[in-house]
Symmetry: D3
Subunit: 190 residues, 6 copies
């Protein structure tokens, strides 16, 4: 179970009122390679992991991804909460506003609702861990796209922090993969 | 952000090896009215809530729903982790096994992946809170279906606990609705 | 069964050629809280309702929602039927035009096809009726977003009429809920 | 707009309590080639039809398909309304029961929610009418599958009636296609 | 099985850097009536076809549609591969860039991922072949929309070639339908 | 473009009439980690690959996956083409039969239509290649599940061949990843 701590893992600073950027950043709130995908994937895969250490790593990183998901939600909300309708019309956020007002929603930048088909959970731990490494690479690439699209310095700073975390997670999944493989006594999985 | 505590909110006891029941219980792991729907819904809606109290209630209940989601995942895993393939063939869990092995997945009892189209998040707090009350009623009805399908006493006990929690949450959302309505000074919204 | 009457429930007046507005209004033609969701939801739930009165109310309101769906389709068509391609390019209606030309389609403002995952139908009448009350609140909130986006006086007039009907339906579902609860002799469902 | 008449287009007789058959028949309540697909498709396509006659035919057939949808819903409900849980467990209706109890839902026989991606609506009337002819052929083929699966004489009788209607509709769409083509003065579209 | 030949079926010439047009053309890369739909539909339907000739026609046309899919992918890539981010921002390609960078993806112009619900495959060959004729008509209509949206002469030329192929395929499916019907000795299927 | 060769990459032998097994094997015809996912993923990713060698490997393996997809379709068809309805009723293939008859369809073992949300295509070649390695691992694990479920020696033989190919592809993607990384002059990507 989880305890909520009333703070963000990383402080959020938003310098602009920017509905178009908010819509793009929703990609990491509800897109295929976003934080919700990461959190639900790891927290779902942990049950069948073969060692307590591997279960623990998936639980830890999954829990951190939920904290990142909260950061992204805060970014989106800060970018639009004071936006008048006239600043929303004509932007990619307009269709979102028609359906949700200014409230966030777990969807892609293109406005498609999150689906668990974005993730996988197999009983095979090798398959899961290579999928997790791929997930972190794809999340990194997505942050790099968003950083290129951002013209808000505060948002860019937060996205840069989150991008770094994906690289750290990629490394930890790589190490976990080696440990699980050794345990399975199959030194050459590829 | 969240801290993980290494215990379940309610102890899980599973008395049988039962892949068919596991598949049905996945309804609350990834179905429309399940615990994942509840957790993501409330944690998404909280950003635009008009008072800190309402934000706090959505955060608290959303966090508890994640703990329930973990309980459901544990139930599913305990029901199948030792099941030989011959006990899986011919049950509704067979298609799940083809895709995921014995690992849980956020899907309906019918094997359809969870999607955020199951939930809504509007900027309007009245609409959100009535949706939340409906969510709790639908979750209660789902638990009542599952309790009728269960022939595992341990599982039935856990499902009964979770059903009770939905009723408590329904009441809390009802109270929050009244507070938010009064604050909006529109005594008669219906 | 139904008989078609060759008139609209409320006269439609459209003052502008406005593809962008048409795309936003599609939210109520095929979005989660739109008229198609309402009509299919109520007409599906009625089979298991415990009283003839409740069945009748769901049938009546469901039938009226189909009439509203027809009104929304007419609005969308009037807003684009004479739009030259040069007035469609660069608007949010352009992707719709690529796929459907100027013909309406049951989709969200963001262009995602309607899905029955937007609705629920349980055997439990209390759960259904609270979901119906939520549906009406969410539809009301959506009309309020659309009215803010509309700069066509005729369209705004029709949207205002439809918004009012949602409030009336909300009240009728509230009354039906009380009657069904009394019949179930469980005065305190929460 | 529509007026509801409190009768079915064709009398429904169900001779058995049969949850497995109910689940298969849901294919025509919410499957790709079912009655809901037909009704929504035709009622959506009519706005852009080039003649009043073609608009009228789509409206008439679309309205009749809604009446067929109601018949299918009645069949499903009659097949399961008195089924005890012990007669539901172990059948393909069990996953449906977990989510919806005995209430119908617009889904395929496999339990997947209806989606508007099953249908198309183009501005081009030729494309729409050939799609409509295909829809009727596919619905006919589906009824032939269901008739082979049915061992309930009453249900088989109703399915046979509905199958016949698809053939009549196919012919009417063929005639409408020829009229629209002639009007477009392009005698050889294929 | 297939052998890849390192050439396109039709030479591709792209005259502009045009992310907005690229996004629209994705409609035929991953939209309901696009080349991927066509290829997968025909290659899936062929197994149950009653004659070797019909199997062969579906295999041939299905294989050609894959070549068209490759042409469309090449068009999309050529239209965006050198686009700087500043030429992507503010266009309908921006949400695609957030998720995929400049790489193509099988999705609609509106950014919704391709799904097999766009197609059907029945055991009944008449139903399949009428569906195939409808598919070709809808693809033709889609190309006509895209040609109206295109302001790139090279792209227009390629789209015009592909549109012509749909008409040829429509005719071939019409002939195949007549042969299969005659073989089934049911001269009047409608 | 592709040339079709009228032979299978590997000879198919099916020893039983087995609708239940056919339904499970559909997992590799249209499931998340199946042959269609693989083929479309690699053929979509190749456009943005940074070297001709990498483009060529994706094209080659993607083309081979289409040949595997054809093998799987043949397996499914052989397992059911002569099945009488009485051998289909009561099996997991029954819902498939209601919708498609005995014809294959790109869907999961659970009957959910294939969707491109199962795959990803980024402009970043590192992210794509790690995703491809994950895809091969997941496909291998799926074949291992299916081999456990199969009691048809001919089918098991074919599945074993296909499983081996996934391991070879995993190795080739690993080598390609190293080459691309070296070219990018970033020796340590994790």
């Amino acid at each position: 179970m989880w305890k909520y701590e009333k703070k963000l893992q990383y402080p959020v600073r938003v310098d602009t009122c920017n509905p178009a950027l908010a819509q793009m950043i929703l990609e990491q709130f509800g897109g295929p390679d976003g934080e919700l995908s990461a959190g639900i994937r790891y927290l779902t895969q942990r049950y069948s992991m073969p060692t307590n250490e591997a279960k623990g790593i998936l639980t830890d990183i999954g829990t951190e991804e939920l904290a990142h998901w909260e950061i992204i939600g805060t970014l989106v909300w800060q970018l639009v909460k004071n936006a008048p309708v006239c600043k929303i019309k004509g932007t990619p956020f307009e269709a979102h506003f028609a359906s949700h007002g200014r409230s966030p929603f777990p969807e892609t930048a293109g406005g498609v609702a999150w689906t668990a088909t974005f993730i996988q959970s197999k009983e095979d731990p090798i398959a899961n861990l290579v999928e997790d490494m791929a997930a972190e690479q794809k999340a990194r690439a997505t942050y790099e796209s968003l950083i290129q699209l951002s013209d808000d310095p505060g948002v860019t700073d937060t996205l840069t922090f989150l991008r770094e975390r994906e690289i750290v997670h990629f490394q930890r999944f790589g190490e976990t993969l080696r440990i699980v493989q050794e345990k399975q006594d199959c030194k050459k999985f590829y």
